[in-house]
């Protein structure tokens, strides 16, 4: 090997990336730059929205508003928070999964460039690790920044009403990060198995929607319900007082024997029939199961931990498949 002459590599320009890191960045730079630009724009937009919201609030003397119907004017700001929470919690994971996750490996398998890379002096698993690692890193950075910025915008008014707290709040903290990571890594695995870019994008879309449906229907179950009962009848003013911002999950009638009956048991036409029905069933009050506001954060962290554990499992599958079945 003594005769080997290697000319020095030309001077590099741009960021100091080298080896596989450079290759992965170069190959996916459009997606990465898009992600970074969207994040920067998003944060700027959130900051602007927060500023205009705070201006309105200070104008009406919040937190002790001078006008009783201030909340009508607040609806605009309320709905902006709700819309943005859907963008972060619903749309972002789907987009990242479909446009970054699915093509990440599938494109290389479809066009043979995976063969090109792994036939260089690079092992298959280090190539996969670098691709997945950089995608995970960029996605984590962007989604965490967006989530934090959104939380900062939502924070001052989070407890204003129940819907705002629980709906917009579901897209704060670790939740959007974990949802996006799981959807993306799932998309990578789908692309790896299907080996066709377009097909894997379509299948990943289905997968992402399924993830959203399961998350939406299950995440509220992660909290610990508190039950409160009142035995003052069921007329006006007898409903138990819940803490501010609490989410009432189930409302039932309570009978004298302590049994629970559905809220609609005595939904009848006239007051006289209703009273008869209440008496017949020995309904003496209310039983309400609710989630106290303090549950939101632990619920989001528990859900995110589950999603991240699933993400790790999918990543393990990706490396196993890469070693055994890639070619």
């Amino acid at each position: 090997m003594s005769t080997l002459t290697t000319s020095p590599a030309p001077a590099r320009r741009g960021p100091l990336l080298s080896g596989l890191t450079w290759l992965v960045w170069r190959q996916h730079r459009a997606a990465f730059w898009t992600g970074l630009a969207v994040t920067a724009t998003g944060i700027a937009c959130f900051a602007y929205q927060r500023a205009s919201m705070m201006e309105y609030l200070s104008g009406i003397g919040w937190p002790t508003p001078t006008s009783p119907n201030w909340s009508a004017g607040f609806e605009t700001y309320d709905s902006r928070l709700s819309t943005t929470s859907s963008l972060l919690g619903l749309l972002m994971p789907v987009l990242v999964g479909v446009f970054l996750g699915a093509p990440l490996i599938a494109n290389d398998l479809e066009h043979g460039t995976g063969k090109l890379v792994t036939s260089q002096a690079v092992s298959r698993s280090s190539w996969l690790a670098r691709k997945l690692g950089m995608a995970v890193l960029v996605v984590t950075m962007c989604t965490s920044a967006l989530s934090a910025a959104f939380g900062w915008w939502w924070g001052p008014v989070s407890k204003e009403n129940k819907a705002l707290y629980w709906l917009a709040g579901s897209a704060t903290g670790p939740a959007p990060v974990a949802l996006t990571l799981f959807t993306m890594v799932g998309g990578v695995a789908i692309g790896m198995v299907l080996r066709r870019t377009l097909l894997s994008m379509v299948v990943t879309f289905g997968f992402a929607v399924a993830v959203q449906l399961v998350w939406a229907s299950r995440w509220l179950d992660l909290g610990h319900l508190v039950t409160v009962t009142m035995r003052d009848g069921v007329g006006n003013g007898t409903f138990p007082n819940l803490p501010e911002g609490a989410y009432d999950m189930h409302q039932s009638y309570l009978t004298g024997a302590g049994e629970l009956l559905a809220h609609g048991t005595c939904a009848m036409e006239t007051q006289r029939v209703i009273n008869e029905c209440l008496a017949r069933n020995d309904i003496v009050g209310w039983s309400v199961d609710y989630l106290p506001p303090s549950e939101l954060s632990p619920m989001l962290w528990t859900g995110s931990a589950i999603l991240l554990a699933l993400t790790v499992a999918v990543a393990v599958f990706i490396f196993w498949w890469g070693r055994k079945r890639l070619y």
């Binding site: 005769t3 290697t6 000319s7 460039t113 090109l116 036939s119 092992s123």
Partner: protein, 313 residues
């Protein structure tokens, strides 16, 4: 080409050694019980009909496929090991390149991913084809793209270069040009080359070694000269149906009647009797005969035989 073969090592070193190599896909065996060795420093043609297992054989040598049976070694190392990875370059049939990269960026891929990289050689191959370094791969013609793929392969300064049908979709002019590049680079650096092709005339020009596979196994392996010398092309009068009596003691690869004449490619085993006109066959004639008669007993020259002692190891 006597003993020392550049940095390919000594002539006796094996670039590739296959022991009972076999690969089964879901639809059946693509390659079965393949045993041969390719000495370092050779330019070896790999010939076989479509589906004979050429790509499968190459894939196993470069760690794209795992063998079902047997083993293959590249310079004594397992494919996929750091050692084998570093010394082997592979150019797949479809010549994959990143379509949105520029030519210069493709060369940078080689530089970034290989500890041993020869930028000068790679740039020269690109420059000699007048391919602009700033052009995107997607804008290049098929010939230019192949040239860039060649540059990437040679820039790695491999000891073994595996090329799967590199010329299949190129016009004759570009093919000739790239063949010259291949021959010149291989000779300059003592690179062992394993090249599969359907273009037998091309192989005749550049190869000094040959492996023919058919029916899933090796039928011919060895130096081109030795393989040619082992065969004789006989032309004589037709005497009846079937193989001529005079030829019974020789190995008849193929015998074909055309009008009153019989032409036979034989591996003579002793002196020839009868009135035959004997000629030295061309490489193409030998290859075609073996491709048409896959059941001929294999002919493996001594340098292509594996040592049975190492086979057990």
């Amino acid at each position: 080409m006597s003993t020392v073969m550049g940095h390919g090592g000594f002539a006796e070193e094996s670039a590739i050694e296959a022991h009972g190599l076999g690969k089964r896909y879901r639809r059946g065996w693509a390659l079965k019980d393949c045993s041969f060795r390719l000495p370092a420093g050779r330019v070896c043609g790999l010939v076989g009909a479509n589906g004979a297992g050429k790509t499968t054989l190459m894939g196993m040598a470069v760690n794209l496929l795992k063998p079902t049976t047997g083993t293959v070694r590249v310079f004594g190392a397992a494919p996929g090991s750091t050692e084998a990875n570093r010394r082997t370059a592979f150019l797949a049939q479809e010549k994959p390149l990143f379509r949105r990269f520029t030519v210069a960026e493709i060369l940078r891929v080689g530089r970034e991913l290989n500890p041993r990289w020869d930028q000068k050689t790679a740039e020269e191959i690109v420059r000699s084809g007048d391919v602009p370094f700033t052009a995107r791969i997607s804008t290049l013609s098929g010939g230019q793209r192949t040239r860039v793929a060649f540059a990437l392969a040679f820039g790695r300064r491999p000891d073994l270069l595996v090329l799967d049908e590199p010329m299949s979709d190129l016009d004759p002019l570009v093919r000739h040009e790239l063949m010259s590049v291949l021959t010149a680079e291989a000779a300059e650096h003592g690179t062992t080359v394993l090249i599969s092709s359907h273009l037998l005339a091309d192989l005749e020009d550049i190869c000094d070694y040959l492996i023919v596979i058919a029916s899933g196994g090796v039928r011919l392996a060895g130096e081109v000269d030795a393989l040619l010398a082992a065969h004789t092309l006989l032309t004589g009068a037709r005497t009846g149906a079937g193989v001529h009596q005079d030829l019974a003691r020789h190995t008849v690869v193929e015998s074909r009647a055309s009008g009153p004449q019989v032409t036979a490619l034989v591996r003579p085993d002793g002196p020839l009797v009868g009135t035959w006109q004997a000629d030295t066959p061309t490489l193409e004639e030998v290859l075609l005969a073996y491709l048409r008669s896959p059941d001929t007993p294999p002919l493996i020259s001594p340098s292509a035989r594996i040592d049975p002692n190492t086979a057990a190891a």
